[in-house]
Structure formats: C-alpha cells, structure tokens
C-alpha cells in the first residue's frame, strides 16, 4: 500500500519548508491545494523544485484529514505526499488558450488515452468563465463510455477574481491540471451528492450562449438575480453562488448551475456550466442540516459498496461551506473515519463526479468524493 503524509501550513514558505524536510519516504506525487491569500505563484514556483509531480489548485477553503488535524481550513495550504507507483499515473498541466471548451476537454482526454488504455481523470480547472460541463463532455467524447472523471473548479476564497491551477511544470489561470490513472491497476469510485431544492415558480431562459445567460423570462439575468435575492451588484456573485439555478434538462433530469461571474455591461451572468436557451429553470436553495445527513447516508452506502481506499479526495462546493459552516466537517469526517484513510480536497466553484445515472457529470453545490485504491496484482 502506498505511503501517505499529510501536511498543512499557513504560509507558502512554511509548507515549502515542511515538504523539503519530509524524510519518511520518497514522494512520487504531491497534491497541493492552497488559498490565493498565500500567493499561488510562489507556491507553484516552490513546488517545481520538489522533484516530483505536483497536482495543485487554488481554493475557496482547504480540506485535510490526516492522522491529526482538523477537516476544513481557510487561508492555508494543504498537501498530501505519496509514494504511489509512478507507472500508475501521470500529471500534466494544460493551457486552454483559444480552444473551445469541448476541444480543450478532448485534448486532456487524448493525453490520458496516449498513456493508458482505460484511463481515469482527476482534474482541476482554473478560470472563472470556463464551462465545466462542456469541458467534461469534451473529455467524455474522446474516451470510452463510463470513463471516471472527478475533480472541481478552482476557487479564490470567494473573491471570484482569479483562480489558479499548477503543477511541477507551471501555473495557469485559464487551464486545467490533471492526474490520469490506469484503471487496470487503480480503482476509482465515488459519489456526487447535493441536496439543494428548487424554490418558487419555473422560469424560462430566453437567451443564452453556452454558459452565458443573457435573459431569463425576457429579463436581464443580472436584474433578475438582484431582484430575487435583493442584493447589490458587488454581492451578486458571492451571494448568488449559494442560490444556483436548478436547470431541467430535456430528459427530465435536473442539474444545478451556479453563478461564477457577471457582465454588468450586458446584464448577463456566467454560470459554471451550460444553461441552454429554452431551459426551464428555478432558483434553488438549501434548507437545513438534513442535507449533510443525506450526504453522510450516501457516503455510508458508498463505503458499503467500496470499503477499501488508500486515499480519498473531496471536491466540495464553496456554497456548502458558506451555508453549513463547520457542519461540513461532519461529512468530511464521516468519509475519513469510515475508510480510515487520509482525505485531501478543497472547496470549489464546481464539482465533477457521477450523476444520478452513474455517468460522470459536472455539478454545483455538490460534494464529490473520490476513493482511490490499488487493485491486487493479477498473477
């Protein structure tokens, strides 16, 4: 079983020093999630010197449950070092540039497929105007059906100004960092659990392009959000993320889409995923601790089906942290306690994990939990 060390620090320098002083085993992979307040460029620069691949992202809060320490942190950096067999995985950073969201997803998929016949992806995506759903669909379009894809959109402490992903090879504010794993030898399982509830009457998206919604019920999306939530323009994105649109898809399934940015000059809102024109939507909100209880029940069910994991990763929506405060610790702790495994993650602006049909999808207001385990070697 691979060895794991979990570290956390409140400064970039402190984390760098602690990683360099780590002597218990020789790491082959570092997973680093940090608050932009610590200076992500500095953290990326430091991690490039560590001598092993790094999967890194800026956050809206950090999650770490190792042998000691609390579950959720703020304005800190958390790190997980492991000596996982290097032939089982690879890490790479991708710059989106001018590529379409789908093409960008396909680029990531093609990289993974070149390395492994049956890949699984864990990705973090930076950039506040990126369409997480279209990127996930792009990956899926190039991969065998059922390819596991987990991860989240990077955060920036709820400032909604600039997010980062980084690796040992660099930093991007409009790209993605990905770990690809060989599912022939590594098992990847997980859940995505939400609990947000639709509120009020249905409305119709009357004009949109991809993840940019111009009008709802023929009214400016900005004006509509401001009126319904009674908020000032400066608060729109910060507060709006807690009140995503519940989008009814043509197949009857529903999906939550959170606001990521606003264009006040056009009155448009940019969502974390696609909201097609003509979609029937409702505001949604969360009501009470039963949402945490529900996620704990689902985590228990997952444990029942998959009781082994050497590492757990959690991508939890920032809205869960804002709404439930320290109660989100309960779901993180439930997972860590059940598997007796280290857990690392961060609070995100969007989550990737299995939907109700079991196929991986892009979500908001969700906890996406990923179990990683080594499969027994076949004789």
């Amino acid at each position: 079983m691979p060895k794991i060390a979990c570290l956390s620090a409140y400064t970039c320098e402190d984390l760098d020093e602690r990683v360099r002083q780590h002597r218990k085993f020789t790491p082959t992979l570092g997973i680093v999630f940090g608050s932009p307040a610590l200076g992500i460029p500095g953290l990326a620069e430091a991690s490039a010197e560590w001598g092993f691949p790094v999967f890194g992202s800026s956050t809206a809060g950090e999650i770490l449950k190792g042998e000691s320490g609390s579950q959720t942190l703020e304005q800190s950096a958390v790190c997980c070092l492991t000596d996982l067999d290097s032939s089982l995985f690879s890490v790479s950073i991708f710059e989106k540039g001018a590529a379409s969201f789908s093409d960008f997803g396909r680029t990531i998929a093609q990289w993974g497929l070149r390395l492994f016949e049956a890949p699984a992806f864990i990705i973090a995506i930076s950039g506040l105007s990126n369409d997480g759903e279209a990127i996930v669909k792009g990956i899926q379009s190039a991969c065998p059906s059922g390819t596991p894809i987990y991860g989240g959109l990077s955060g920036d402490d709820s400032n909604f100004k600039e997010t980062f992903v980084f690796s040992h090879n660099g930093l991007s504010t409009n790209g993605a960092v990905a770990i690809v794993l060989d599912t022939r030898r590594v098992s990847i399982h997980g859940i995505a659990t939400s609990g947000w509830t639709g509120v009020g009457v249905e409305m119709v998206v009357t004009s949109s392009e991809g993840n940019i919604v111009h009008t709802i019920n023929d009214r400016s999306a900005v004006d509509l959000y401001r009126e319904y939530l009674n908020i000032s323009p400066s608060e729109l994105v910060q507060i709006g993320v807690t009140f995503p649109l519940l989008v009814k898809r043509p197949d009857g399934n529903t999906v939550l889409r959170a606001v990521m940015a606003a264009d006040f000059s056009t009155g448009s809102l940019i969502f974390a995923g696609s909201v097609p024109s003509g979609s029937r939507v409702m505001f949604s909100s969360s009501f009470g601790y039963e949402i945490i209880e529900k996620s704990i029940r689902e985590i228990n069910d997952l444990y029942h089906d998959h009781p082994d994991a050497f590492l757990i990763m959690a991508f939890s929506c920032i809205a869960r942290h804002s709404v439930f405060g320290d109660a989100v610790d309960d779901e993180i702790k439930a997972a860590s306690d059940l598997w007796h495994a280290p857990l690392i993650g961060f609070f995100t602006y969007g989550e990737i994990g299995p939907g109700s049909t079991g196929v991986c999808d892009f979500h908001n207001e969700t906890l996406s939990l990923v179990l990683i385990d080594i499969l027994p070697t076949r004789p």
């Binding site: 409140y10 703020e74 304005q75 709820s158 509120v199 009020g200 009457v201 009126e227 319904y228 939530l229 009674n230 908020i231 608060e235 910060q238 507060i239 807690t242 009140f243 505001f283 909100s285 804002s322 709404v323 405060g325």
Partner: protein
Amino acid sequence: MRQTDLLWEEMQALLHYLPPADQKRVYASFSQALKGVTVLESKYTRAIKDRAAVHALLKKTSEDLIQRYQTIFEYSCTAMIVIEDDGIISLANSLFGNLTGYSLSEVENKQNFFTLVEEDLRDTLREYHARRRLGDPAAPQMYESKIVHRSGKVLDVAISIGLFPGTRQSIASITDITDPKAAEASLRLVNKKLNILSSITRHDISNQIMVLSTYLELTRMEITDPHLLGYIKNEEIAANAILRQITFTRDYQDIGIHSPVWQDAGKKIRETAGTLDLRTVSLTVDVNNVEIFADPLLERVFFNLFENAVRHGEKITQIRFSSTESPEGLFITCEDDGAGVPWAEKENIFNRKYFKHTGFGLYLSREILGITGITLRETGKPDVGASFEIFVPRGRYREAMHQGAAR
C-alpha cells in the same frame, strides 16, 4: 474603530515592556489570532447576507406563486369562490360576479354562500359543508345545485368543491348549466314525444300486419292454384320482414335512452341464461366480481350472444363465458364449440341486413356496448367454434364485490 483594532493598540503599548524576541513571538501569535478573527467576521457577515438573501428569495417566490394562483383563479373558465368555515365568501373571481349579478365588493367577506343557494337546497349544501369539515370522505365533491341570481332568476349550477389542505376553507368552482339543462330537458321531451309517436305508429303497423297475415292465411286456405299460393307465400315473407323491421325499431329506440350504469357482468350473464331454453347446451360462466359501465340494455347483448350460439351453432354442445385483464383493459369472451363463423363473414355478421338473420341482434349488441366505448368482435375459428370478444377499456370496469374504484 473595531474592538480588535482597539485591543491591538493596547497590546502594542504593552509589548514595549517585553524583550524583542518575546515581542516578536507575541506579535506573530496575535497576528495569527487576528487573522482568524477577521475570517470569522467575514463568515459572520456572509452568513447574515446569505440569510437575508434566503428571506428575499422566499418572499419574492411566494409573491410569484400568489400572483400565479390569483391569475389561475381569475382566468379559470368557471366562477370560483373561497368559502370560510362560517359560509362567508372570502374571495371570488369576476365570473362569480357575472354569474350572480353581485359586484365583488358586495360579495367578498360579506356574502354568505348559502344565502345564494335556492332555499330548498340550502340545508343539503350546509350539511355537505359540515361533513366536509368533519373529514367525511363521502361528502360530495361534485354535484348539481341551484343558486339565485340577484334578479331572482334561479340558475342551475354544477359545483366542484374541496378543502384547502390543512384549513377549514373550501374552494368551489361553479359552472352555470342552466342552458344545457334546459336543452337537455327539451331534448328529453322531444324524445319522449317521438317515442310515443313511433310506439303508436309501430303498434298500428303491427296490428295491420297481423290483420294482413290473418287474411293471407285465410286466402291460402281458400285457393289451390300453386301459382297463387306462391304469391301468397311471398306476401307472407314480406309481411314478416316488415314485422321484423318494426321490432328492430323498437329495440333500437331504447338504446342510449337511459344513462349507463355499473352492472355485474357475471350476474347479468347468469340471469340472461336463466330466461332462455339452452336445450342440451351446457353453460360455464367464469366471469366473477367484475362490474362494467354499460347501457342498461347490456342484458340484451348477452341474450343475443346466447341466441346466436344456439340458433346458428349447429353442432354446439357448450358455451363458455370468461374474462381476462390486460394492460389495456378487460376482455370478456363468449366461446362455443359450434359451427363457427366463416373467415369472410366475421364483420358481416354485425351488419343489420346481413347473414342468416343474425344481423339485427349483433348489430344492436355493438350499438349497446358502443354507448360506453366497449367493443365487440368475433375472433373464433370456422368449424371449431365462435368466439365473441367484448373489450372493456380501462376506467369502464371495476371490482364488483367492494364497489371499488374503476380500473
């Protein structure tokens, strides 16, 4: 200035008395603590803003819902009112004003609903109102009644009424059926007159045919000329045909006159069989506990099936009725082991002018069943036996024993 800033100023004053190394340590710890407090402050502010936004969202969406239901209430094509526990109308739509001749300001929170009901029916409606509030599931939800217009004109109305869940307020939808009721009454009267007329005419024609038949019989006894006897025979055939057609008009006239009713199919089959001489034909009825919604002449359908089997079955020894349920509905089958129906004649036997004089009965049977959407067809094999399949769509049959809901 915030409490933490004040505290920090006081701390700085105190730090001067400490050695530089201790000052640095205290400064670092305090900075970390202050950072934590700042995070907590921002979370607290955020929580308050989130809470305010939740309230705003709930308020606005509640207003939306109220507006939506008010629109439905107003634009419903029936008069609608909300009736309080004491009978006072607390809310009414414009159509209710039009229906009763009162303005909404005269009605809302002032008018007692029962005072608008025709005097003879008031107590009945009050009783329904009370039973509904006691949770009596048998309290009628849809019924006809009469209300009095401001002008004194009595209106026939259809009322659909129920309680708002968890309240003692009723919501009633009232439709003016005065004109359809008057038209229905006129139709019934005209129909009755036509029936009387055709009944008298039929009676007279039958009498005249009887006279004609008698004279033909007497004539036959008087003559021996085979040529003339042939004429008489043809005249008798024509007279019988007229009699048969007259009988058909009698039977057909009764179809659809009375409203369809729920009838125990197995019981009706057995009762009909009891009125017939089935001779040596054995009967099995495997149709149990099922009621079908059909014209009261349903018995005639079974009579025709029995008669058809016995008269045309030739080698027939048994008749069996059975029923099976499918996702689409209920099949009641009447099978015999007689001569069966040739492939080419399976539809023709339902034609009233066709096939060995069977047409009238089977044609009438289809008409009787068709009143409530039930179909009849023949699905047997020639030389093996006839098989008549009655298909009852869902909603038109139910369990007989417990008067259950229609399936």
